[in-house]
């Protein structure tokens, strides 16, 4: 029965690889979106400041 060790190994490897891959992609996307959000926020603040500066 110990020759089935490769199946056990495969099952556990697949599970943890899938979980870590998912967590990796979610956190990477989160970082990208937060960076983009900050950039849009900066643009908004600049566009609000510009007409006031011009007066």
């Amino acid at each position: 029965m110990n020759d089935n060790l490769s199946y056990l190994f495969a099952a556990y490897t697949v599970i943890w690889l899938a979980f870590f891959a998912y967590l990796f992609f979610v956190s990477r996307r989160q970082r990208e979106l937060e960076r983009e959000l900050r950039a849009v926020q900066r643009t908004l603040e600049e566009s609000k400041r510009r007409p006031a500066d011009g007066r």
Binding site: L8, A10, I15, F19, E34, L37, L44
Partner: protein
């Protein structure tokens, strides 16, 4: 100075990383606890629990396969609940929960199918067979993969949320069918060992303890994944709102010139 309300909103709606020290501590605490539980679970599964006399070492897949299925059911229950509340109250918060739970649920169902196939090869001699339990689980996977596709390809997010909510409610009917399929039809899949359809004493005490510990660990892991996905969804929505504000602001500036 007047505060720019709408431009502040996206930051407030942003991810758990921007919710302050308390949120950060909760997140880190949950991660550490889950990590410790996973390590303890691995110890129980590989070192502590005795090897099954009939199936041998491959039976240990069961301690992850069953919790994965349980968590997938829990995820789809959340999709059902979130969808009902979204349709009744129009709540975006519950819709966000439904979508995030569906995505994590599909991940768990995929792993149920994969680990089931890996278990089936040495035990049944085939990777796949059209057994009622396997077939209904595959249908479950298609239903919620369809749910995610409806959301992704819908012309508008609001429309996609409504259509997906209907699918999330109807699709949940398959969950009890998957669970009771072993009883209702002649099947080769082992009978349930947890829940109302299980027979008392069908597992040795050490095996039951390991299984229950695994169930708790995977439920906690699910909470971690769901929280991360919810935070991402909140950031996606905040960015959408911020972009809309930026677009309006550009249009206003042009029209005032």
């Amino acid at each position: 100075m007047e505060r720019t309300g709408p431009s502040r909103a996206p930051w407030r709606a942003s991810s758990g990383t921007a919710t302050g020290a308390r949120g950060w501590m909760w997140r880190e605490g949950l991660l550490v606890l889950t990590g410790l539980m996973v390590l303890a679970d691995l110890y129980l599964v590989f070192m502590w629990v005795p090897t099954d006399a009939t199936l041998g070492i491959v039976q240990r897949i069961f301690y992850f396969h069953v919790p994965l299925a349980w968590v997938a059911f829990l995820a789809f229950f959340l999709v059902f609940l979130g969808s009902v509340i979204h349709l009744v109250r129009g709540s975006r918060r519950w819709d966000r929960l439904a979508q995030s739970a569906a995505e994590v649920g599909v991940l768990f169902t995929t792993l149920v199918l994969v680990t089931g196939a890996i278990w089936a090869r040495p035990v049944w001699g085939v990777w796949w067979t059209w057994d009622p339990r396997l077939t209904t689980t595959l249908i479950l996977w298609f239903i919620y993969a369809g749910y995610l596709m409806v959301r992704a390809y819908s012309p508008s997010p609001a429309q996609g949320a409504r259509y997906a909510a209907a699918l999330g409610i109807v699709g949940f009917v398959d969950v009890p069918i998957v669970y009771f399929s072993v009883q209702w039809w002649r099947a080769i899949h082992p009978a349930p060992v947890v829940g109302p359809a299980s027979e008392p004493g069908s597992l040795a005490p050490a095996m039951l303890i390991t299984l229950v510990f695994s169930l708790v660990t995977f439920t906690l892991f699910f909470v971690v994944l769901l929280k991360e996905r919810l935070a991402l969804k909140a950031t996606e929505e905040a960015l959408g709102e911020a972009r809309e504000l930026a677009r309006r602001s550009t249009t206003d500036t042009r029209s005032s010139r």
